[in-house]
């Protein structure tokens, strides 16, 4: 029977409250009596999972979900408050690549120290030293104190030692993000070949792409609990979907909140001739006319800002009344109206939002926001979201400008 490489059962972790010296003392007294100081922040709650040989696990979740704490428990840096952790193979952890590096010592000295912490004997290290130096590729700097290194160099050296330690299970946090592009590529390549040799990886990452590429299974931590685990695609997709709805909820929440903060408010925000109040539908290239009535309790005309954004919030275009030197039409003492028309709207088919903002009369601060959904219909196969004016140049009157640029663009 194949035994799992990692067995985590019902792991909980509390951090004791230790802000006040007396709290430290009390927690210490509890520990001396052999008790767990259970009060305090609960970072992990009843997390269980197994990693089988040759299998790689991704751990995902928002910031503060307990991912790093889980890794620390797995590497044995901290002990869980409850539950058990069993890690069988030779583990190398890449929690922080420069960890254990002493800034005053040379790179070479630090390699020796780190290698011993990773369980390499002096003879093994001597055999692999060339390999390490080649991978780190920092040249004569290895003889310099580490305090003179750039952060990238520290990462290179740290990764090189870990790679040379020949682990069976690699536990890594979001560390690869530190190096430059080519070094990152090198690391990913190394990890891929490491996995091909039948080893396992435990990866914490915010990059779903990386998780999907390198892992078979995933664990989604949410507020310290294992929210979901299983096939990497199922878990990452639910995670992304959850994120989208959350961003959406936040936006709605913001919309509800708006209008309370500022002095200048939107009374009315309308798309003219709109049939459906929730979503205005128009044909590609059609015109659109918007009117917005603003309330200014102090009687000074507020500035209006109109903007068009894509469904995910990417800004496409925005213009404020004061940019164009437009003065509001005054309806009564405290109410002002702006009307704007976008002729031949060049948006490509898709979903958009049109936003109106009430700004203070100086045009510095957004006081209120209102939003309408917009759907552009059409049969266009063009890409992007705005149609740019263009014309195709006839082949016969091609001049010199074409040829050179084509050659140049291939150099990289």
């Amino acid at each position: 029977m194949i035994q799992p490489l990692v067995q985590v059962e019902g792991v909980s972790k509390f951090y004791p409250r230790v802000h006040h010296p007396w709290e430290r003392l009390r927690a210490f007294a509890a520990l001396l009596r052999g008790k767990e100081p259970l009060h305090g922040a609960e970072v992990l709650r009843d997390v269980s999972f197994e990693v089988m040989p040759g299998e790689s696990y991704g751990i995902i979740g928002e910031n503060g979900a307990g991912k790093s704490t889980l890794l620390k428990v797995l590497t044995g840096v901290i002990s869980p408050s409850r539950g058990s952790v069993l890690v069988r193979p030779r583990v190398a952890a890449l929690l922080e690549l420069g960890a254990g590096f002493q800034p005053d010592f040379s790179g070479l000295d630090n390699v020796r120290m780190k290698a011993s912490l990773l369980g390499m004997s002096p003879t093994q290290l001597a055999q692999r030293m060339d390999e390490i130096l080649a991978f780190a590729d920092i040249g004569e700097y290895v003889h310099e104190p580490v305090k003179h290194y750039s952060s990238g160099m520290v990462v290179r050296l740290g990764f090189a030692v870990v790679a040379a330690s020949d682990p069976e299970l690699l536990i890594t946090d979001e560390v690869l993000a530190v190096g430059d592009e080519s070094f990152q590529k090198k690391c990913i390549q190394w990890i891929e070949s490491f996995l091909q040799r039948g080893n396992s990886l435990l990866l914490v990452s915010h990059s779903m792409f990386l998780v999907q590429k390198l892992c078979h299974r995933a664990l989604w931590l949410h507020e310290g609990r294992a929210h979901m685990q299983g096939d990497v695609f199922e878990v990452t997709q639910s995670y992304l979907a959850w994120h989208e709805t959350r961003v959406d909820r936040e936006r709605q929440h913001r919309q509800n909140l708006s209008g309370q903060g500022g002095l200048y408010r939107i009374e009315q925000f309308n798309i003219c001739n709109s049939v459906d109040p929730s979503e205005h539908v128009l044909q590609q290239g059609e015109a659109i006319e918007i009117s917005m009535t603003l309330i200014a309790p102090d009687g000074r005309p507020p500035v209006a800002l109109f903007g068009i954004v894509r469904a995910d919030g990417t800004a496409i275009y925005g213009v404020a009344s004061d940019f164009d030197g437009i003065v509001a039409e005054q309806i009564d003492e405290s109410r002002f109206r702006y009307r704007i028309r976008f002729t031949d709207l060049p948006l490509l088919p898709g979903s958009y939002s049109i936003r109106g903002h009430a700004m203070d009369p100086e045009g510095l601060r957004v006081c209120d926001t209102s939003e309408k959904r917009l759907r552009v219909k059409g049969q266009s196969r063009e890409l992007g979201f705005v149609r740019l004016q263009h014309e195709w140049i006839d082949g016969k009157d091609a001049d010199a400008c074409g040829m050179d640029t084509v050659k140049g663009s291939h150099s990289d």
């Binding site: 004791p16 010296p21 927690a27 520990l31 840096v77 369980g119």
Partner: protein
């Protein structure tokens, strides 16, 4: 299991060498200070005690006050400095402990080993110098001194484990420990001889384990063996028990260091 032990030995040796080199890394003369500094200190003590204080010691008629002091002073310095340095070895290496899993008792233990190594090199230099200038010290004293110093190092290691674990939880340890060690220094007959004390105090100070180390070291090099006593059994036992208890406490607490660092 055997493999794990080997790994730990490698880490331990790395930590010891790192500890020793930290103090000398950026010196021009490097490791020469290991020998030069103790000899300079010896010169200072010779000047202060023989010329200014004109200190005399009844037991030390043959050798003079300075050798009498030197024989006990360097082991004490090693002992005291080892404990003081090791007590902050966990808090000082907080970054390492939070990121790398390794047996953290190696930190205080390697600090003790490094401090003893450095001061014993100085001790050797001082004793050799005294021999060379013709001081009447017993050569055979070394045979006795080696097990005594080893035992002293084990005792220091035990106390260092206690102190370093305690300091993680109670930071005040860093402030309490130095005056405590100074008090211990002056209540141990290093600058003086226990025979100079009033009888009542003498009977009380006899229970100080370091007094026993000092007495036996002086006997080994200068005054000659005076016969076995109860302390010959108690102090080695106490040293080993301290070490075991220190290790026990440390291992119980080390899983929680990260929470308090």
């Amino acid at each position: 299991m055997r493999k794990v032990k080997n790994f730990n030995t490698v880490i331990f040796l790395q930590l010891v060498s790192r500890n020793i080199r930290t103090d000398y890394l950026e010196n021009v003369t490097g490791f020469a200070w290991l020998v030069l500094q103790p000899l300079l200190m010896l010169a200072v003590y010779a000047f202060v005690f023989s010329t200014i204080f004109q200190a005399r010691m009844p037991e030390a008629e043959g050798v003079g006050f300075v050798p009498f002091l030197a024989v006990a002073f360097w082991p004490w310095t090693a002992f005291s400095e080892a404990i003081l340095k090791a007590s902050s070895s966990i808090t000082a290496n907080a970054a390492l402990i939070g990121k790398v899993a390794f047996p953290s008792e190696l930190l205080p233990l390697s600090t003790v080993a490094a401090t003893f190594t450095m001061h014993l090199i100085g001790y050797l230099a001082v004793l050799l110098f005294l021999f060379l200038i013709g001081t009447d010290l017993h050569w055979l004293g070394f045979l006795w001194a080696i097990p005594l110093l080893l035992l002293l190092a084990l005792f220091a290691a035990g106390l260092a484990l206690f102190a370093s674990a305690l300091q993680v939880f109670i930071r005040d340890t860093a402030q309490i420990l130095p005056p405590l060690m100074t008090f211990w220094f002056f209540t141990t007959p290093i600058l003086y001889s226990s025979t100079m004390l009033p009888d009542q105090l003498q009977a009380f100070f006899r229970w100080n384990p370091i007094s026993w180390f000092v007495l036996r070291l002086r006997e080994a090099f200068i005054t000659g063996f005076s016969g076995f006593g109860l302390m010959d059994l108690l102090v080695p036992l106490l040293s080993l028990l301290t070490l075991l208890a220190g290790l026990g406490l440390f291992r119980r607490l080390r899983g929680h260091f990260e929470d308090f660092l």
